[in-house]
Every structure is written in C-alpha cells, then in structure tokens.
C-alpha cells in the first residue's frame, strides 16, 4: 500500500525581506499560513514546487512543509514550522508582532 500523502504547503523566504512566505491557490505569496494553498495530491505538489522554485527573483529556498488542515486553515505539524509561522520566542518580533 502506498504511504498516505501528508498534506503540504509550499513555503520559502522572500528575497528582499527574508521573511517566511507561503504559496496561495492563485500562485501569489502570502505572509500568512492560513491563506496558503493546502496540497493534498503528491503529483500536484511536486509540479507546484518546481514552478515555485523557478521564481528566483521573488523567493529563496522553496520547499514543501507538512501541515494538518483545520477549519481555520492549515496548521504546522512540526515545531520548526510553528516557529517560522510565529517568530522567535525571546522577543515579540517577526510575524507574531505583525499580527498584533
């Protein structure tokens, strides 16, 4: 039996600001994970990853990150992605401050 495909989002860092971005359904970049397109099909995810990786004048370091879909949008499954979504824990800097 093939392994079950864990839902994913495409994520990267913005070229100019360096902050974390996610790919939306209409192929724009968002700073907000809840607006990211959740990919549930592996073949689709791989093609979207190749296309997103080619956008080198916008982003750096494109990859697929595991998420668990939720009524309020995707949630990170690993603590590293949780930190990327929120910002550092020692100061209220990064995305957590932008949300205030």
């Amino acid at each position: 039996m093939p392994a079950i495909f864990t839902p994913k989002v495409i994520t990267a860092n913005a070229l100019l600001e360096g902050d974390v971005v996610y790919l939306t359904q209409d192929d724009t970049w968002t700073r907000n994970l809840t607006e990211a397109d959740v990919l549930t099909d592996e073949a689709d995810a791989q093609i979207r990853l190749i296309d997103a990786s080619a956008r080198t004048s916008e982003v750096v370091g494109v990859y697929l990150a595991d998420v668990s879909p939720d009524a309020k949008g995707p949630k990170p499954t690993h603590f590293r992605e949780a930190f990327r979504m929120r910002g550092p824990s020692n100061y209220p800097h990064g995305k957590q401050s932008e949300a205030l």
């Binding site: 902050d19 603590f79 990327r84 800097h93």
Partner: protein
C-alpha cells in the same frame, strides 16, 4: 588599537562597492541564488529562519567607543534596536533586509569594521583572549598576532575556497581564555629556553559533530616563522581535506585520519618550501602592528573610593567579587559587563546599552572594549577608583548583573529561535535555568560553573566544553536535550561525557537542578568547584540523580 591603513580602507571600500553591485544584480535577476549565496556568505550575510542575518567581525574581540556607538546606530537604523554578541567575537544583526545590507556595510566601514570572511569556507575572524593586553598573567599581547593573521588571511587567493571553514585562536597567557584547543589552529604564545618569543602550534581541534581536542603539531615555532608555517598548515589541509563529505572536511578529521605525525611531516616539508618566499616584509608589518597596540598610560591613583564602596555597598561588593579580574597595572582591574541578566537572552545588548558601555569605555577605560567568546563585554583597563561610578552607570542600564563565571552566565547559541540549522531552541532553556537559580538564590553558593547550550550538533554554543553541556535535538518532532558533564574550555581542555538519554524541554531545568544538588552534596568543601568534584567522583552519582528513579520504575514495571 590598530588603525586602518589607506590600503585597508581602500580594500574594504572596494569590497563594499562590489557587494552593493552583487546585491543589485541579485535583485534584478542577473544573479541566481546559487550564484549569489557564496558571495553574500563571504560578506557575512546569512538567510535564517525569519530574516537575513548580518554577522560582523569584531577582530580579536577589540573595539573602541566610536565603533560600539556605530553598532548601536546600525541596530536602531536598520535592525530592531539590539545586537547579538556571539561565541566567536562577532556581532549579529537578526533583522536586516537585503537592500539595506550594503548601507550597513558602508556604515561599518566608516568606523573601520567589516563583515568579510565571517562566513563561508575561508579563514574566519581570528579570535583572541578577551583580556589581551590587560591580564596580569599574560606573557605577550596576542592581538598584534591576530591582526597580522587577519591581514594575511583576508582575501588570500589560495584560501578562498577551502574544503570548509577554518578558525584560528590566539592566546598570550598560560591560562587559556581563547579555547585554543578547540580551534582548527590554536596558537599559544610562549618563550623557549633562551627566552625567545614564539608559538606552540595546536592543530585539529574543533567541536561540532565530531569533537576533538587539538594536538600539538609544533611545540616551538619562532615568531618570524608564523605566517609561512600557517600557510603550510592550511595548504596541506587544502589539498588533503575531504571535499566529498561535509561532515569529514574539517582539519580535525584530516588530522585524525592521517595522524598527527604524518600531518607534521607534510607541514614541515611544505614549510621548508614556503619559508624562503617570506622575505621579512611580514615581520616589518608585524613590528608596525605591534606599535599600534602599545599599552595605554596607566596612572597610579588612590583606590580609596573602591575600598569604601567595597566595604559599604553589598551590591557593589558582590559585583566586584564576580565581575573583576586581575590587571597587570597596579590599582587597575579588568571589569566584565555581564550580558546575562537573569531571564534575558545571552549575548544580547540593546542600542542604549551599547551606548552606555561606549560612554564608560571613553570616560574611564582608555576607549577600549572587548567582546568575550562567553558573550559578555569587557572594560579591559579601568582604575579601581572609578569602579563605583562605573557600577552605578551599569546598574541604571540593567548591565550590573553580578554573575560572571556563575551558573547563569550561560553561553547559548541563537538556536531555533533564529538559526536555520538548529534542531531545537537554546535561548529559552538558558533563560529558564538562569531564572530558576536566581529564584533559588543558590548561584553564589554553587560558585564556578559553566553551562553551555547548543541548539544543534554544530556546537556554536560550545556545549562539549561546558562543565554542564546541553545539546538540543529534534527527537521525532519534539525538542529534546542531551546533557554532557565534565567538559573544560581552558588549557586543560576536555570534551564532556554524555549522561544518558535526553530530556524534554519541560524536564531539562529540573534535571540541571538535580545535577547541581548532587554537586552540592558531593563536594568536599565550598572551595571545591563543580568540575573538580566531577573529576573526583565521576559520572555515577550524577547519573543516579538523573535517572535513578526512572530506572527503578522501569524495572518494577
């Protein structure tokens, strides 16, 4: 202090102009990230978890008040109002945008600073004893040596694409405060039987995934042979070093695989070939550099204000007892400013704090500041009579924590709060340990104890050489912390031993508390430091304290 020559200034300016153009070409799409990445790394620019990070060299940890003020300005103008001092005598700015970096580099050049070779597979910022030129136990000032090496290694054409990074540390004192045995090359300034100055050359030390204590490759190298000998070591490794495997590329692995005798023979052969090419120009330069590091004129003054404050002010006395070290000039002291306030981020200073420290250096400290690899700031030359005023000013700025060398004076790497390589967080663990032992009011009873925390196997937090080392790992998607005991960062360098299975983020502070309780009950007297007790009693009582109960439970189950 060393002042840039016209050549230095022109070189840095040209490099900054080149990098500005490279940034523009990256933004307009003419450079891909693969092309740009090595260029930005050679200029100290990383891309981390949340933002770019600019790592600025503080050569041999020395800076003046104007430089410190400029760091404060940069922190406010282009960052979030603070900077992070690192274990390699650098400062890191965590939030620059790509477009701003060329302006930041120009601002640094205005005060004779740069970020060149703070990253990439090159010879990195050369570090030195942070008490250089001030310590009572010093044989010679290591900074002219470090500056000579900086000039030789900067943009050295043979060494721009090394198998991996290469780190050199220099100490001029028998009490090693520069961790020379954990560097690719460690240099100890010594004198031979007839009193001539030279170096003991240690090679192949390093921490990281495969920690190694460096080995002596030459027990006495005459001073004038330094650069050709260093060139021989690096070029032998440049050829032999493994480019096929990132984890086996450092010189420590080369030395381990070939053996120190084989490496020594190759180095001596290469040295014999290179030596004639050094005509003595390097020694003329070295003599000029030395004259830039002449000691300030120390005045002999009455120390009565110090004695009075010491007798009457308990807070001052406590700070003086922990944060001062012996200076070579009568009536003077070396004052360490702790960047480890309980609960704060180790190594961080706000722009305002940087200005306070700059002002104190200008007013009382012959305009000199140092950054220690232990992530604190040092006023190397202060008269004792001025210490009460210095302490008062530090107190107002939240910089008077009396904990140097104590359990809360923790080295911690940025960990997963910032670093893209990290596998777990370090900073919150350091904050919790410091806060907990402050609550327990045990800190001064415990005495000398070095806790060092790394958030991944690369060991930027020097955990292997901590009396208590903590290594943060990702175990099945959860942060997990391994403990090592018995590490030593001094001239008696030793790699700590693992206690056993790791602890979760919730369990790690109680685990450290059990280790400290065990030490307090095992020590023979208050004079026996943690490391000495550990060496005497060994791992067993600590293991029992950490795992005894759970092992019994497992057997019962």
């Amino acid at each position: 202090m060393y002042r840039y020559t016209d050549f230095d200034a022109a070189f840095v300016a040209e490099r900054n102009t080149q990098f500005r153009a490279q940034v523009e070409r990256r933004i307009d799409g003419s450079l891909t990230e693969d092309e740009f990445k090595p260029l930005r790394l050679m200029n100290g620019l990383y891309l981390q978890l949340h933002a770019y990070m600019l790592r600025v060299a503080i050569p041999y940890g020395t800076l003046n008040s104007a430089q410190m003020r400029q760091l404060a300005y940069i922190a406010e103008r282009w960052d979030k109002g603070y900077g992070h001092f690192t274990t390699r005598q650098n400062i890191q700015f965590n939030w620059p945008t790509l477009r701003d970096v060329p302006d930041m580099l120009d601002a640094l050049a205005e005060v004779q600073m740069h970020a060149i070779q703070t990253s990439g597979n090159t010879i990195r910022n050369v570090t030195a004893d942070h008490f250089a030129g001030a310590a009572a136990d010093e044989i010679a000032d290591p900074r002219p040596v470090a500056e000579l090496i900086r000039q030789w290694s900067t943009d050295h054409p043979e060494f721009q694409f090394l198998p991996r990074k290469f780190k050199i540390a220099v100490t001029g004192s028998p009490n090693d405060r520069a961790v020379t045995k954990a560097h690719d090359i460690g240099l100890r300034m010594v004198r031979n039987d007839v009193g001539e100055p030279g170096f003991e050359v240690i090679v192949g030390g390093g921490l990281g995934r495969t920690p190694m204590i460096g080995k002596v490759v030459r027990d006495f190298l005459p001073e004038a042979d330094l650069l050709p000998y260093l060139e021989a070591v690096v070029s032998v490794w440049n050829l032999l070093g493994r480019r096929d495997n990132k984890y086996k590329s450092r010189i420590k692995i080369t030395v381990h695989e070939h053996g120190i005798d084989d490496i020594r023979a190759r180095v001596e052969e290469r040295f014999a070939f290179l030596r004639p090419a050094f005509s003595g120009v390097d020694q003329q330069l070295f003599a000029q550099i030395k004259s830039d590091f002449e000691a300030p004129a120390f005045k002999d003054r009455d120390t009565a204000p110090f004695d009075q404050a010491y007798a009457n002010d308990p807070a001052f006395r406590s700070w003086a007892d922990t944060n001062l070290s012996a200076h070579r000039a009568p009536g003077h002291a070396i004052a360490q400013i702790s960047l480890k306030a309980h609960g704060a981020t180790p190594g961080d200073a706000t722009a305002d704090q940087m200005r306070v420290m700059a002002d104190l250096a200008a007013r009382y400290g012959h305009d000199e500041l140092r950054i220690s690899h232990e992530q604190n700031v040092v006023l190397p030359h202060v008269h004792k009579a001025d210490l009460p005023a210095i302490h008062a000013a530090l107190k107002d700025a939240g910089l008077a924590t009396a904990n140097i060398g104590r359990i809360s004076d923790i080295i911690a790497c940025p960990g997963m709060d910032y670093c893209a390589l990290a596998t777990a967080r370090s900073i919150p663990i350091a904050q919790e340990i410091a806060t907990r032992f402050d609550q327990l009011k045990l800190e001064h009873e415990v005495g000398d104890l070095k806790i060092k925390i790394s958030g991944c196997i690369n060991a930027c937090g020097h955990h292997h050489v901590g009396h208590i080392g903590i290594l943060g790992l990702d175990r099945a998607g959860v942060e997990n912390y391994q403990i090592t005991l018995g590490g030593d960062h001094t001239e008696q360098a030793a790699i700590g031993q693992r206690t056993g299975p790791g602890f979760s983020a919730d369990e790690i502070v109680p685990a450290i508390e059990r280790i400290v309780d065990t030490y307090l009950s095992e020590r023979e007297s208050a004079e026996e430091a943690f490391i000495d007790t550990f060496r005497r009693v060994g791992m067993t009582p600590f293991k029992t304290a950490l795992y005894g109960e759970s092992e019994k439970k497992q057997k019962a189950a």
